[in-house]
């Protein structure tokens, strides 16, 4: 009973740890890494809802990330909109575009869906690159203001860290409720077999569109937070390699696992930073670690963490039992 309570509320504990973390970090550089990690966590939770739960591939997810980042940036700088209005417009535009894309592309399945979303991602990348007069073109768009809400500017890394991780917490809780609801079960049914799901009365098309738009909305949240943190956006950040990185985070973390999304995003953000210490070989080691993870943990880091937890628990119990037996001799 006690362990059930613990298990159900583990995420609250984890986020309490997040809140306390800045107090023990040796220097502020880790804050920046964790802010970037938080953004990727949001992206990866969103993509996991789509890929892990509903089983729909997206190879163009970075496009939604970029669309909202550019929208809020351009509105704030070129059109002098207040920051909050730009953010809302960015979120709205990304969601709207994702809806318009979802309706035709989600009729595709498997590889064709992957191709469709990939094409969309490439189109957005080209538009960001070529519409020089609006987006600043390939060399990027500068001068985006810092995030400010109601006159309060979040200019320090510490303040921004809390903003980003509050967003992570909120979206995590939302997703957690979603996947445990009727809708979450419907999504998993679609993943297993779309035909069977619709035979059981699940409106597959509607659910697929909903989860696609939701996952684009998550990406849009990360996008506006990115734009007002770095204060600069360039097309390279939102290109195909980023979409692939996001898919890697979801798969490496563990499909259909929210904790997996968090672990995958944080692991792939932190790993390259740790590996900076071994210059020249970092990319080699990075690749090797990914390969080993996928070989030995096909279920992702979430599965690995679960196994390690169970193993240490049983070890602990055995030791306790052995000590009791040993005491008698």
């Amino acid at each position: 009973m006690k362990s059930q309570v613990l298990r159900n509320n583990a995420w609250l504990l984890a986020f309490a740890a997040v809140a306390a973390l800045p107090l023990v970090l040796p220097n502020d550089y880790y804050l920046t890494v964790l802010i970037v990690g938080g953004l990727y966590t949001i992206l990866s939770i969103g993509l996991n809802l789509l890929m892990g739960y509903a089983g729909q591939a997206s190879l163009g997810h970075a496009a939604f990330y970029g669309l909202s980042a550019y929208t809020t940036g351009i509105l704030a700088v070129t059109y002098q909109w207040p920051v909050w209005a730009g953010i809302l417009a960015g979120l709205a535009l990304s969601s709207l575009v994702s809806y318009l894309i979802a309706v035709p592309t989600l009729k595709l399945r498997g590889n064709y869906l992957a191709m469709g979303t990939l094409g969309f991602g490439v189109i957005v990348f080209i538009v960001l690159n070529e519409a020089t007069s609006v987006t600043g073109g390939p060399s990027g768009f500068t001068g985006i203001p810092k995030l400010s809400i109601g006159g309060k500017e979040f200019s320090s890394d510490l303040e921004y860290y809390y903003v980003v991780w509050a967003a992570v917490l909120l979206l995590f809780a939302l997703s957690r409720n979603l996947v445990r609801s009727r809708m979450g079960r419907a999504l998993r049914a679609i993943h297993t077999s779309e035909t069977a799901a619709s035979a059981l009365g699940v409106d597959t098309q509607r659910y697929k569109i909903f989860v696609f738009v939701l996952s684009a909305f998550y990406a849009a949240v990360a996008g506006v937070l990115y734009a007002h943190y770095v204060t600069f956006v360039s097309p390279g950040t939102f290109g195909f390699p980023t979409s692939i990185l996001l898919v890697t985070m979801v798969v490496l973390g563990g499909m259909a696992s929210l904790w997996g999304a968090v672990l995958g995003a944080l692991f792939l953000t932190l790993l390259p930073e740790w590996l900076r210490a071994i210059e020249h070989f970092d990319i080699l080691v990075y690749g090797a670690i990914l390969v080993l993870c996928m070989m030995f943990l096909p279920g992702g880091l979430a599965e690995g963490a679960q196994k390690a937890w169970d193993a240490s628990l049983s070890l602990f119990r055995k030791k306790g039992a052995a000590a009791e037996e040993g005491g008698g001799q």
């Binding site: 990027g140 500068t142 930073e273 900076r276």
Partner: protein
């Protein structure tokens, strides 16, 4: 049990030794961020190599201010987000006194707010004009703006009495920058742009654009991009039998371009380039002769590969920074910044650098010489 004690002893002694070494002299820490991998690696790799080579040289000759120097080089993988975390790491974790790089304009623009807010001097090795205009107190750059290269080309055209130009530019950061600069500069220099064509950086055939240009009364064509696009244009131009003189940007000033285009297609192409590539043709009494000869000798001796003008940017940035630290007689970022603004008459591989509080790019268009490709080699024009 015994073995454990022996191991423990070893580790203990080793740790003590390390501690003693670390305490001896605190090195001067300088950060560097280059695109060593990714699409811009042709810029970043020679820069990384140059910095590592100069680190050894400086330490062999006694370091700076009696302290050894340590260059901490990070790879940004040509990615803006990675550049931001790398610069943050240099400033907050490694606590460097100054930063050299990044090697591309977009990544530099991404970190200007960061370096500026933390008040750490940053010497960019990228070319975009936006980096130093408007002037930011802590941001400098050593690569001449593309505007200066464009100016050099237009000057050469005027000398040849050519007034109508067709421009064909790549749709990437470099090409778009050149296009903007040329459109801004042309009216001021009495040159009219009669055709304005754009190609994708990965396109493999530009005959469509060149055919359009052929139909205009252009007296010269200027192409702005980095390999391989310009090489394709050089080939297509010969295939289409276009005799109009062709100018290239300084972005292709390496032997790789002639190789890709083929010597017969590259024949007669004109371009502005750094003196580095025409080293044997520089007169012996030229002020940059010595520094260029030494750089080529050292680099090619150490790495067994040809030197590039991009590595030259890193060479100049290190030289200028070391001089500023010596002038300031301090490794305090503020003092280094103040000293950087006072660097005058510094002879680098790219030319003579003069900084002032209003001018954070040290070079003028004198950094470029006009070069003609003759028989698959460079020929410096007077």
């Amino acid at each position: 049990m015994n073995r454990k004690a022996v191991w423990f002893g070893f580790v203990f002694v080793f740790a003590m030794l390390l501690g003693a070494i670390a305490q001896a002299v605190e090195p001067v820490k300088i950060g560097a961020v280059f695109s060593v991998t990714g699409p811009a690696s042709f810029l970043g790799e020679p820069k990384r190599n140059t910095v590592k080579m100069l680190e050894a040289d400086i330490n062999r000759s006694g370091g700076i201010l009696g302290r050894p120097v340590e260059f901490i080089v990070y790879d940004d993988e040509s990615d803006a987000t990675k550049t931001v975390t790398a610069v943050d790491r240099l400033i907050k974790k490694d606590r460097v006194a100054a930063i050299i790089g990044p090697s591309i304009s977009g990544n530099t623009l991404a970190v200007i707010p960061k370096a500026g807010a933390e008040k750490i001097p940053l010497i960019s090795c990228a070319a975009a004009k936006k980096i130093t205009s408007p002037v930011h107190p802590y941001i400098f750059k050593v690569a001449p703006s593309d505007l200066l290269a464009a100016k050099r080309i237009f000057q050469d055209m005027k000398n040849r009495k050519l007034a109508k130009v067709a421009i064909i530019t790549a749709s990437d950061g470099y090409g778009a920058g050149g296009r903007e600069d040329m459109k801004e500069l042309a009216p001021q220099m009495g040159i009219s742009i009669v055709a304005d064509e754009v190609y994708g950086p990965k396109d493999t055939d530009m005959t469509a654009q060149l055919t359009k240009i052929k139909g205009t009364d252009a007296q010269a064509i200027v192409c702005w991009g980095t390999n391989p696009g310009p090489a394709v244009i050089a080939r297509n131009r010969v295939q289409l039998g276009i005799k109009t003189p062709l100018y290239m940007s300084s972005g292709v000033a390496s032997k790789k371009f002639i190789e890709l285009a083929g010597a017969e297609n590259a024949e007669g192409i004109l371009l502005p380039a750094a003196r580095l590539i025409v080293e044997p043709q520089i007169p012996a009494d030229h002020p940059q002769k010595k520094v260029i000869v030494n750089y080529i000798k050292d680099y090619e001796g150490k790495y067994k590969q040809p030197v590039s003008t991009f590595g030259g940017h890193a060479h100049d940035a290190v030289g200028i920074l070391v001089q500023a630290i010596k002038d300031a007689n301090s490794t305090d970022p503020k003092a280094i910044r103040d000293a950087l603004e006072k660097v005058k008459g510094f002879q680098g591989t790219w030319g003579e650098f003069n900084f002032t509080p209003e001018e954070h790019t040290g070079l003028t268009e004198e950094a470029f010489v006009m070069v003609k490709i003759v028989n698959g080699d460079w020929q410096m024009l007077k």
